[in-house]
Amino acid sequence: MLALGAASLAVPLVPGLAAIGLVDGARRRVRGSHGQRTGDGLIDVGRVLAFLGLAGWSLGLIILVVARREEIGGSLFFQTYLRWRFLKESFPSVRRGFWVNVKLMVAAEVMVLVWGLVVALLRLAPGAAGAPVRWLAVAYIDIFRGLPALLTIYLVGFGAPIAGVPWLGSQSLFVRGAVAITLVYGAYVAEVYRSGIESIHPSQAAAARSLGLSGPQAMRHVVLPQAIRRVVPPLLNDFIGLQKDTALVNVIGLVEGFRSAATYAGTRFNPSSIVGLGLCFIAVTVPLTRLTDWLLARDAARSRA
């Protein structure tokens, strides 16, 4: 059985590697004779072979796992991280906790979109009169990008009520957590917005101003709409980080996904519940990651065109 599995792993590698070699060789030949053109027909053959290789390889892996399921399932590794009974048993509380993370994500993302833009605009305040405002914005960005997120969350979430910070000090743990995350990511997102605004050629603002629009009107109607369109991919990139960091809010005592899963893991002396939570996070972040990559690739293709 083991031999069969090993063989099924090895055999498909042969056409797979052959396909890679073939495509590479074909590309080189085509480039040699036609300059930049790629040999579309040949790549299709290569793709088919590569796909067959991959399919065979996957099949081999499945056969191997199925054949040895008793042994694999019974291994200490699997019993530690993926014990089905614990995964199932902890899931209701993990799901309830993760729902808090999801609410944190949405609340913080909405606030970050607004707050980041405010900070970016302050950072770009024009003229000599704008200098103190610019300086404040730079200080905010430097400090909150420089502090570990965990510290900010602790200082805001745990410290604000003790210090009697107006409004914030009397808010729920959830609100304090969301505000802390907003402060951290607002600093990153402000820089994303700023890079977008600065990427719009000054002639656009000049054209708007020359028509009689004021500075703020030119920003609002001409520069920002173009800038925001440009920064959507990097913005989503920061949101991926934000979504993962919602788990840090457990340090101030908010019962969210990690706290729920860790409590369960502690009582069972087994981290399977944490793996379950990890799967929840991945289910949310991976689609966003794919979307971001797709948008970036599209932008890159567009700017090449």
Binding site: R209, S210, L211, G212, L213, V222
Partner: protein, 247 residues
């Protein structure tokens, strides 16, 4: 009676003097062309008149009213003085119609409907009414530049500044833009153009100014300046232009 007056206008970038005590006087309904090599200060002069650049010395007046210096109401100045750029600078995220109606709606307080009607009327005149819903990148350079001119006209300026508006265009698209400018001149629009189109300047300008190193070295009616320039440098410049086949 002069309408737009430049009085010893000086503009520096650091220690580099770009406009050196320039005097110029333009009457209402006059068309004035600025010629001269790149870097002679043509564009800078137009940008200073529109308030896009601040001047370090002298004074600019429109209809006797000072429109330069720190306390100028720039928004008001720019309603009176329109400018069109070499690179069109249409707003790429807006349709043609929105490009034209934005400023009239936001600044002149026209209703959307009134602004749209006016925009359509102007587009009709340049034969681009059917492209009102298009985005700038769907149009040719010549079409974009014509729309940029219309966008400036929609604010009903008293003076129109044109900064080498045909310099970025393919040769076959230049004519359609010049035709509009010619029509504006015929309708009595006061215009100041920086241009390399010498034959156009010769045909349409009331006054041609030759700029050299930030000064108006020589000015006169086109037939005089082109056929019988007084200054040696004007002669050299015009000679080069003729050699380059631009005249």
């Amino acid at each position: 009676m002069s309408f737009l007056e430049l009085d010893a206008v000086t503009k520096c970038y650091g220690h580099k003097v770009v406009l050196d005590a320039v005097d110029l006087s333009i009457g209402e309904h006059q068309v004035v062309c600025l010629i001269g090599a790149s870097g002679s200060g043509k564009s800078t002069m137009l940008r200073c008149i529109n308030g896009l650049e601040r001047i370090q010395g002298g004074e600019i007046r429109i209809d006797g009213q000072v429109v330069s210096g720190r306390w100028t109401d720039l928004e008001q100045l720019r309603q009176r003085v329109g400018i069109v750029f070499q690179s069109y600078n249409l707003f790429p995220h807006m349709t043609v119609e929105r490009n034209i109606t934005l400023a009239p709606v936001k600044i002149r307080g026209l209703s959307r409907a009134a602004a749209r009607a006016r925009a359509m009327e102007l587009l009709e005149r340049i034969g681009l009414a059917e492209r009102a819903a298009a985005y700038p990148d769907q149009l040719s350079g010549g079409q974009q530049q014509r729309i940029a001119i219309v966008r400036a006209l929609a604010m009903e300026p008293q003076v129109l500044l044109l900064d080498e508006v045909t310099a970025a265009l393919d040769p076959e698209l230049v004519a359609e833009v010049l035709a509009i400018i010619r029509e504006l001149a015929d309708n009595g629009m006061t215009m100041l153009l920086a241009t390399h189109e010498m034959s156009f300047a010769r045909e349409c300008a009331d006054l041609v100014c030759f700029l050299d190193a930030g000064r108006i070295l020589e000015q006169g009616p086109p037939h005089q300046l082109f056929s019988d320039p007084r200054e040696e440098r004007t002669k050299t410049f015009l000679h080069r232009v003729i050699e380059g086949g631009r005249m």
